[in-house]
Amino acid sequence: MEKQYQLRLYIAGKTSRSITALNNLKKYCEEHLKGQYSIEVIDLLINPQLAEGDQILAIPTLVKKVPEPVRKIIGDLSNQEKVLVGLDIKQL
């Protein structure tokens, strides 16, 4: 059975860095996880109370809630290698 990926991307306003991150994420997902992922974008400027729940410090932060284990990737996700390893899509 294929794994279902639940991804959350925390951003703070539509900054260029946020947009870069989102675009990078979408690109990787389309390449590697087609049809088995969902992306939720949370803008902390709109919902600041959500920052505490996932222990968000840095912006942007990508949180992989499912499948376990929980992983966080911070930064603009420009390094594809690191993102894929971080999401346990690609083994080192």
């Binding site: 902390l44 410090l57 912006i59 966080k72 603009d76």
Partner: protein
Amino acid sequence: MAKNTKIPKIPRTPKLAKTPTGISGLDEITFGGLPTGRPTLVCGTAGCGKTLFSLEFIIRGAMDYNEPGVFMAFEEKAHELATNVASLGFDLRTLEEQKLIKLDYVHIDKSEIAETGEYNLDGLFIRLGYAIDSIGAKRVVLDTIENLFSGLSNQGILRAEIRRLFQWLKEKGVTAVITGERDGPSLTRQGLEEYVSDCVILLDHRVIDQISTRRLRVVKYRGSLHGTNEYPFLIDEDGISVLPVTSLNLDKPVSTQRISSGIRSLDTMLTEGGFYKGSSVLVSGTAGTGKTSVAASFVNAACERKEKCLFFAFEESPQQIIRNMKSIGMDLQKHLDKGMLQFYASRPTLYGLEMHLVAIHKAIRKFKPKIVVLDPITNLITVGSVSEVKSMLVRLIDFFQSEQITVMFTALSLNTIVNEQTDEGVSSLVDAWILIRDIESNGERNKGLYIMKSRGMPHSNQVREFVISENGLDLVDVYLGPEGVLTGSARMQQMLQEETGAVLHTHALSRKDREIIRKRTMLEAKIESLRSEFESAEEELNKVYVEEDIKKAVMEENRKKMTELRKGNARDILPTKKNRK
């Protein structure tokens, strides 16, 4: 021209606003508190009380100054913090429910974080901003923000972001406390002091000779005066108390009221009945000379006057003192039961000198005594050097004076030569100094007491013998004979001798008296015999007179009879007489 030159008026800039911390003593050192609306760095080694310091800042703000606060913890979880401070009597949960405090635990787990590319810490800013806005916080604590460095690897970004964070906090106008771990020569591991430059407080926890002392120092306080010394502080059930060690002025109120020393004969030596109220008295002497007894009788007298006393015992336990004093006719237990007397016994080695000072301060502020006894101060030497003890006592005396508390110290002289032993150097600080010394002669040891000094009053210069009996303490005049000072049995002997002399003297006197009486009796007897002699002579003379009179009367009678007889008729005599008339 000088007339026309006008000195431009320099606009008066407002003084730096300060936020009181509510931590007892710290606001005195900083003359009001931490700089309002600016970050303050509190740094120190592990276990020096940084977290407690910052937490108390928040709690006091919420409870006493109605300033809500946010506590952002990077180390301990919220419930751990709540448990930790519950032991200090602070109820974090209730404060949190009242929206006076917000705890936010920031967890960073390096194992679940991967970094790729550029990022910033907006998430943290937003969290903090949200927390501040949700309760209208005026105070913020970040404990310990350096933990970010262990969780995130891009130092360049972190440093820039932390700098931005402090700037942002300033803009927010919150008074912030940032804690930092001290590491080696630099104040904080990551050099936070570079970013926080307004106020830096250093906490320290030192162990010298196996005794630990916590100290606090204001390293820097931009735009404000502050005490620069290292101040000892204490963490106990009431939180942190910092002790401002020296007050700079000598303008304490003084009293001319006298209070009894509890030994009547000593009061008379001091003229007008005792020590000045609010003065400091030192009782020094060699071992076993009765210093504690002097102190106890001072306390006993005060308790009987209904003045509260606090007895700091550094040598004996309270029970021991009560038992021992009972043997010389003093019942301290009843004062203890009435609450007039309180003992505070602690081993000097329990903690450092400064801690003792803080503890003494606290005990005094709590009990508010009029009389304080420290018995003996010399035992404190075991936890500090002579100069340290001296500086502690200076501050203590200073404190007592400002509180108008009469204090009696006892000190053990280790040296029998009086002038060489200066009793921890406090003898120059105290107002009165009573010295008890051994007088050894004729194979016995007796105690001599004299007043070395007593400021501002005439006092006896005599050495008195100090006698402790089951009836209490007393001073007896010593005998100054040709062989020197006589004490003990020599004095008794002298007294007996004088008593014999007195008896002999009285005897001689009474003999003389009797002689006089005898002489008088003799004389009186003589007078009596002379008088009777005179009386008999007088009688003899009188007899002649009487005989003469009788003879005269008889002759007269006879003559009349003769005349009558010549006239012949006795019956005619009377009518004849009648006729003649």
